[in-house]
Homo-oligomer: 422 residues x 2
């Protein structure tokens, strides 16, 4: 149990080698193995070829105790992972009764006949255990043999993930194959601070070895991945301590943890603050509304919005004075303010938020360059406006995404203030 | 030149083996190699470790003539791809003058001092050629040595792609390393037909070997990837012929080719038909507007929209009769029609499109289950409505995406009819 057991992942599929699909399965499996303290030193990818699958397997067997295959278990003639591996170890394939029953049911329920190739999926090496497939047809294989464990799971991501989570990891744990030293990560998600500035702020907290802290820049937000290594209880403590230090330094710039999205966090803050919102969008074309309503139950705080893409719509639906549009143009703080006030009134909302800008690639001028965006937030007391210059570089999609990010962050900070009675 | 030259791709980076990032670089490189007729039989992934990078390299060298590395060229101490490969071949690393000049300029422009580690990036094997890095700091390496070509490009995707496209592929071609038999793919994108039904329609056209036709299901659309193999001129003909056969069978269900998006295609049809559109959205929350405005120049055909998430908004902004909402409810063909007519009028548009439905996961009832969506399209002559039942299974995001897809397809078919004078 204290021996270091090494793992190796082999992805099987000619479509991978042709670059027709990206291998997200290997990512997933490596992540789960890291969490279990099983180090992976090599990964291989090989096509649907009997000899080459064997070649990859023999190499992995020679340098790793745990070999995990993904792909090549299906019903087509190209699917030969089990055959190649069994032959390499001189083992026989036998029909697994439970897997066969599952296949029969699967086809019966759909009123289809099972072909000989379909039936072949129920074959597994004689001393192996079949992993049930609740999501499709081909069973997986868990095979402890000659001091090794060989795992084979399908290439269909949902089936692979289900088997890894529900069977492979628990079974490795049960058999004492899980390492005593685990690797865990936690992600702190920040918004409103650029990557460079953020790194300046936490430079001394980044150059550590356990845990490590790695900034990852996304569009409009920077994530900090904290990764710790050690015994499970130590790892939890290391992650908590690092999170505390980073939060002390960064304050409200941290909006969430791990998979929390800004959409969710803003929604939950609005709900807590009892605020009902309406949005007026120009350059974002509906993106801010789409993000606010991506969260189940958003009708509790989102009333609706107006996408005022044309000037006429800004006048007719939001009550922006025509003279203002003629005087200062649609991309201005004044028009953003009028839009926010207008949409707040039109929907009878507590808060109105507006976005107007130049998404590009065309439409920029000397005084209103591509990437300039004005945001406004109006409540019963007044209105605040913000100007951002994202530049041309992010492209149309990037500018729109950055603008929606800024609008959501404006709402987030407003709701935070309101919650704390500000 | 007529010898078969095999390629192998090695991705270097411990973060790959920890599952912290997905290896999209290998996908890209494999795709480009396939297009050049260079077969890839194996791919390896290895961490930032001198011995193991060497081990992977020796294996690749023994079974492939072209070895392409991605990753491990940067300025940190973990970056050791060049060092490991040069040592494995007993070659010396020397400072490349052009690369050093580029680095010096890079840091001077930013007012930063170049560290010793930064400078180390200018080292390349003595007989190799440096690949200029127009996007960052570390140069790549193109090294023809002992009947092999060894390529090293950075792991930063933009730098990797730039070097592969602008240098590696042209240089392989120039040196006669590009195969005479190439592999090319073309993707036909369809909308409005489910995967099962589509496969039924083209069953006899799918079971071919050159070209092959593979259906790939996405949310709300199915793509058909045609892949042909052969001499460049034959491949073009094979792809054209297969495309013709599939189009004959599928007609208007094919909306685009390769990277064309439905958003773009709908936009260009609206422009051609001279139609100006407004949208009224409920469950999609702005997604239809967001997609229509994702295309540069969309102001030519998109006037704007109303996100009427609450019933009050449907009444106030779209003129949906309150009695209708009380009688048949917001998720109904009648309300969809009233929304489409209302938004058309509010914006003075040629066409009004409306979406209302139950995105879930909550909010479903016996008569209005999760996944039920009504669409409507109103013009000067009248209104058509469509009901779709997407079910619970796609989840909230899936139902919203499917609903937006259906709305765009409704617009597409309308614009197609109008264009042909229907």
């Amino acid at each position: 149990m204290t021996d270091l057991r090494r793992a190796e992942v082999i992805s099987v599929g000619t479509e991978l080698l042709l670059g027709q699909i990206t291998d997200t399965n290997a990512t997933y499996i490596c992540q789960r193995l890291a969490e279990c303290g099983l180090p992976v030193y090599f990964r291989q990818t090989v096509g649907d070829n009997f000899q080459r699958v064997q070649e990859a397997f023999r190499l992995a067997w020679s340098r790793a105790e745990l070999v995990v295959f993904t792909g090549g278990l299906g019903p087509t003639e190209d699917d030969l992972t089990k055959e190649a591996v069994a032959a390499a170890l001189g083992a026989e394939l036998v029909e697994d009764a439970d897997s066969l029953a599952h296949l029969e049911q699967f086809f019966a329920r759909r009123g289809r006949t099972m072909t000989a190739n379909q039936r072949r999926q129920a074959l597994i090496p004689r001393s192996a255990v079949a992993i049930p497939n609740r999501w499709g047809t081909a069973p997986g294989v868990f095979w402890e043999v000659d001091g090794h464990v060989v795992v084979m799971v399908p290439g269909v991501p949902r089936e692979m993930r289900g088997m890894v989570d529900e069977f492979v990891i628990p079974e490795l744990r049960r058999r004492g194959w899980v390492g005593e030293e685990v690797i865990r990560s936690r992600v702190l998600r920040t918004v409103g601070i650029g990557e460079g500035q953020l790194e300046e702020m936490i430079r001394d907290l980044i150059h550590t070895t356990n845990p490590t802290v790695a900034p990852l820049a996304h569009v409009g937000e920077v994530h900090l991945r904290i990764t710790a290594r050690g015994a499970p209880q130590d790892v939890a403590r290391l992650l908590d301590e690092a999170e505390g230090r980073l939060r002390d330094r960064l304050g409200d710039a941290v909006y969430g943890v791990d998979n929390q999205t800004l959409d969710e966090v803003v929604g939950s803050l609005l709900r807590q603050a009892g605020l009902r919102v309406a949005v007026a969008e120009s350059c974002t074309g509906g993106l801010v509304g789409e993000r606010l309503t991506a969260v189940p139950g958003s009708s509790a705080y989102f009333l609706g919005g107006v996408v005022a893409y044309s000037n006429e719509a800004k006048v007719q639906l939001l009550g922006v004075p025509r003279s203002l549009l003629e005087q200062v143009g649609a991309v201005s703080a004044e028009v953003a303010e009028a839009m926010a006030r207008g949409v707040r009134e039109a929907f009878g909302a507590d808060v109105g938020v507006a976005v107007t800008g130049v998404a590009g690639p065309g439409g920029g001028t000397g005084t209103k360059p591509v990437g300039r965006v004005f945001l406004a937030l109006a409540d019963e007391q007044g209105c605040r406006t913000v100007r951002s210059d994202f530049g041309e570089e992010p492209g149309r999609e990037g500018v729109r995404r950055l603008a929606s990010q800024a609008a959501l962050n404006l709402l987030r900070r407003y709701a935070l203030d309101r919650r704390s009675g500000g």
